[in-house]
Symmetry: C2
């Protein structure tokens, strides 16, 4: 039983490419030539790859121009803000339900994540910190029990991941975000939906303020 966790090659190509985009291996605006990518993945022909491109384009990670190929979607500032507003809206919506439905076990699980995030912070493992951070938000949304909402939320988070990551490089923001997360967790623990909602919104707003300038730098550098 070798490691073919993905049944079809289309699925393999999709998850692999998605990973490459969200991890920043492929940068916004970069061209994604079929042949070129196909050669990078072992024994993959253009047919399943093309199917993967259509999927990722539908998710918003790629932009297709007919007869001109695919590029990693490059979001303008306004578009990043739109997607961010959308994800925050979804999280807020989920927050109320999460507080109503969350079990003690789930609170404990998220608490454990929080602890791991704290550790990553103190040991200066930026990447881990960032990943766990995202995971906590994701788990809060999942706990709300609306699978469709969670799916969309995850998809939209993926779209802005490269942009958000930029903002977390500043250590001072990093520290404050951790403090906010403690409050977020407490609101969840108290099952205080309205408060959780407010904390999440504020958390994202604060984060975006810091990120914004950095993103603007990066965009203008093109």
């Amino acid at each position: 039983m070798s490691g073919d966790k993905h049944g079809t090659r289309t699925q393999l190509a999709t998850t692999r490419l998605r990973q490459m985009i969200t991890a920043g291996d492929l940068r916004p605006g970069q061209r994604v030539a079929e042949r070129e990518i196909a050669e990078q993945l072992p024994g993959l022909s253009r047919t399943p790859l093309r199917e993967a491109l259509k999927i990722l384009a539908t998710e918003g990670l790629l932009t297709l121009s007919p007869n001109r190929g695919a590029t990693v979607t490059m979001l303008s500032m306004a578009e990043v803000e739109d997607v961010l507003e959308l994800t925050v809206g979804l999280e807020s919506l989920a927050a109320e339900h999460a507080c109503m439905r969350v079990s003690d076990a789930e609170i404990a699980e998220i608490g454990a994540l929080q602890q791991k995030m704290r550790e990553a912070f103190h040991e200066n493992r930026l990447m881990d910190y960032f990943e766990i951070n995202q995971l906590i938000h994701q788990r809060i949304v999942e706990v709300a029990g609306n699978r469709e909402l969670a799916r969309i939320h995850a998809t939209q988070c993926a779209r802005i991941k490269p942009y958000r990551y930029a903002g977390n490089r500043r250590h001072e923001r990093w520290e404050r975000a951790l403090a906010e997360h403690e409050q977020i967790f407490m609101a969840l623990q108290d099952r205080n939906g309205a408060l959780l909602r407010e904390m999440l919104s504020a958390h994202h707003r604060n984060g975006w303020k810091v990120t914004k300038s950095l993103v603007e730098q990066e965009l203008s550098r093109t």
Copy 2:
């Protein structure tokens, strides 16, 4: 200048199939065999069709089982409720922004739609009524100015369209929905975001109550 409004065959197949699903030509649970569909569309081979299937599956309209083909996604009651909650959440989110940004011209345009809907109601043109109804909700969301939000909203609306349509067959609900829409429009006209939000939520809640029983019938009839 001929009628090929869609550049590639993949696009053609996608819009055509999407239409067939949302219009109810293909019913939830129904099998979508590649060869069979390919023969229905003129000169279309399996390759672009398969790409269309992946797109529609990503949108949630189709469900793919590896090596076993595609079926029109069949939503359980709980899933319909989840998607509905999601769309209502998105509309509510949009409502505030819509009231802040809506122009007089746009209000007039939506007012005209409202009028056309009224006429369709009095002339008992159910299909038109339903379509215009959806269009009004769509326009309100679009007016909010968040393209990403509008895109997701439209996608999710499409998913539950066949289920919602069932509920609007009852004339008494039909009449009440029209009255609610008048209030919705007034809230927009007054640019009262909080009220619009509340009206939209209530409108959908009321509609769902009626639809629910009918959907349950239809599902159990399988």
